[in-house]
Symmetry: C2
DNA sequence: ACGCTTGGATAGTCCCGCTATCCCAGGAAG
DNA sequence: CTTCCTGGGATAGCGGGACTATCCAAGCGT
């Protein structure tokens, strides 16, 4: 299919697709001649993923490029590829090491990982952006006066572990490693808005049950 | 305390505090005379909340203003205040009603709410931005080929309900309604990065356990 | 009295995600 | 062959968002 058709079927404007091509989020089409390029279903799939990441997941374009670069890197093993893709995602602020709230948060997070028995996560913690963003969020909660300790959070960790297990089960129903990693990334990015929405709905629901519509 | 001290203690630059004052995220200090204003602990607390919303939660300034407006509106009952504040938060794209994936997603979400017995959420669904953002995310998962139905999601809904219950329990340990709503908003915004980080760590952990470091 | 700080107002900066314009090279129609 | 039209690449511009830098006038301290 041509650019025009790709645009038609994906609902993304031609100008925007060109922009994504420039930014390296999409591989160029197969050049038929100097003025024509041909795109296939693979491009369409990828374009939908890109849109989902950017629009629904709110991932910046530069980050999406990096993530997809890892997804496509089939020189790596599955775990590393997945890890690399997930590590490229967060982009929150870095922890301010001078802040005592950060130090306290770090201690609690470490205790949490220990009590959950997440050995790999503990080993990789000093390097992991995800770990750092967790520390930042916990430090913020501390500063606002929330009690937040490992005991309190452990059940949530277990829950998220259950979620992750379900998702990897689903991932394994696909064959191609690239597709698997793509799915995992899509889950990471799109499943989170789902959880967030469920969380907020639950909060409203529970508040209404406890206090009624005053 | 003066502006300079407020800046010092919060770690936010004077210029930025002035910006927040202009934007109405912070109430002006008590004017002592034509050139001096006095701020108190309340301002500091609020400033920390604002920073957390914006930096950690990634909430746009305009949205934060709206949310805090509801938090401060003590003419409303607790449930409504909390609901209004949470409704102002999401800011995702609106669902495209022409899209069949959106229609399918809506059906599944409605079935989910029914099976969870979230009556209030069901009643308010047509109006709720949170509900709409859930539909958008689910539709996106559908388009990317994820199986997503009410049965699959119900356990996650239950989990989020548990989370919400714990948070409201904590909220009730505070007395002032404004503080309670503030806490709830902080939870909604800061607890979510925590869950997200836990989710990603769990995903890495589980992948490493299943596949090793290939 | 005079410099120094404080707070308010205004304009400017930087980044990001597009979007509009221009240009040239085919291919199709006459 | 010529002419016109379309597809694709390159470049520059736009609009919004979050700050940030500069200026200014009014006190306050010595």
């Amino acid at each position: 299919m041509r650019l025009a058709e790709l645009s038609e079927r994906s609902g993304v404007s031609i100008a925007t697709i060109k922009y994504y091509l420039r930014e390296g989020l999409l591989s160029p089409g197969r050049r038929v001649n100097a003025t024509t390029a041909e795109y296939d279903e693979e491009h369409l799939r990828r374009l939908r993923l890109v849109r989902a990441l950017i629009q629904v997941g709110g991932v910046p374009v530069a980050t999406a490029r990096e993530v997809l670069g890892h997804v496509d890197d089939d020189s790596l093993g599955r775990t590393i590829r997945l890890g690399a893709a997930l590590w490229a995602l967060p982009q929150g602020p870095e922890p301010d090491e001078g802040d005592p709230a950060v130090a306290a948060a770090r201690t609690e997070v470490d205790r949490l990982l220990e009590s959950l028995g997440w050995e790999t996560a503990r080993e990789l913690a000093p390097l992991s952006p995800v770990y750092r963003s967790l520390v930042v969020a916990v430090a913020s909660l501390h500063r606002l006066g929330h009690r937040w300790d490992a005991e309190l959070m452990a059940p949530y960790g277990e829950l998220m572990h259950q979620v992750a297990r379900r998702q990897l089960d689903f991932m394994e129903t696909h064959d191609s490693p690239t597709e698997q990693v793509e799915l995992a990334v899509a889950s990471a990015v799109l499943f989170e808005p789902v959880l967030r929405a469920l969380h907020r709905l639950a909060q409203e629901e529970e508040a209404a049950r406890r206090y009624g519509i005053e």
